[in-house]
């Protein structure tokens, strides 16, 4: 008498390991490309002077990095306004 065949089970798909092992690229993809987008604005002050008004859809670089690449305002010669 032939043995009864067990019902064929589909192999399981490759499942992700627990949260702490989520793929780094997947995490970065989600935090950078998914989520609520808000159009913001930021005024950056330095030494009490408002230097930059930035309309932000996305911050492409850190503000500190951006500030390093901006020339300081030139001082006016004495006697000129």
């Amino acid at each position: 008498m032939p043995a009864k065949r067990k019902p064929r089970r589909l192999p399981k798909a490759a499942a992700a390991p627990p949260d702490s092992d989520l793929n780094l690229l997947d995490i970065l993809d989600h935090v950078l490309n998914a989520g609520v987008v808000v159009h913001g604005s930021l005024v950056i002050s330095l030494a009490g002077v408002d230097l930059i008004y930035v309309g932000l859809n996305a911050v492409l670089t850190s503000v500190e990095t951006a500030l390093r690449h901006i020339e300081p305002p030139r001082a006016l010669p004495p006697g000129r306004r």
Binding site: K12, A15, A16, I27
Partner: protein, 204 residues
């Protein structure tokens, strides 16, 4: 004062929320009607480490509630965030009620096994692409059938590598979801998640 908002969620009693966020800064709360918003003060560094810290805050929230995350790095003035919540709290509260206690699981479906042959003509190339697309979509349908009611909602997107499926799943059903996703049929199916249910939140 610049702030980095993490996410919005429904105000629920008894939630234990993370205390520290990006850069070790305290996670603060702002409430508006039925909505709770988490944020930290100060400008975040634009680094992968900061993005991971941002994700950890969301992951801690997701263990208890379904958040609507902000995209990283969103930087606003504190008053802008307050105004944003005041204007949009009803919209996001409705969205979050629809995905309450649910998470987003994702499937990346790619074809395997078929060697790529150089197409002799543009028509052959397009025909091969169409066949590949049909196989992937057929695979997605098979997965969706296998999941049954575990998949509360379903979205698909074609990508350069294959098909990406987003599935809304009740939080406590995630282990069953992972067990029920079939493989085989000449397709590779990679499961990831849980993620915040961003694909199932309507934009403003």
């Amino acid at each position: 004062m610049p702030v980095l908002p993490y996410c919005m969620l429904l105000r629920t009693a008894g939630l234990k929320l993370p205390r520290k966020g990006v850069g070790g800064r305290p996670v603060r709360r702002m409430t508006e009607a039925d909505l709770l918003c988490l944020y930290s003060e100060g400008l975040p560094p634009a680094s992968a480490e900061a993005a991971l810290e941002f994700h950890r805050v969301l992951a801690a929230v997701m263990k208890q509630a379904s958040p609507a995350p902000f995209r990283f790095p969103t930087v606003l003035e504190l008053e802008e965030l307050r105004r944003f919540l005041h204007l949009n709290s009803a919209h996001f509260a409705r969205q979050l009620e629809r995905v309450q206690q649910a998470v987003q699981m994702e499937l990346r479906i790619t074809a395997t096994g078929e060697p790529q042959q150089a197409a002799a003509s543009g028509r052959q190339y397009l025909a091969a692409r169409a066949r590949a697309r049909k196989r992937l979509q057929s695979g997605a349908r098979r997965v969706r059938r296998a999941l049954g009611p575990l998949a509360r909602r379903w979205r698909e997107r074609e990508t350069a590598a294959g098909l990406r499926c987003y599935v809304l799943v009740d939080r406590e059903q995630v282990p069953r979801f992972r067990e029920r996703v079939p493989a085989g049929g000449g397709l590779s199916i990679q499961v990831s998640g849980p993620w915040p249910p961003t694909e199932f939140l309507e934009a403003l």
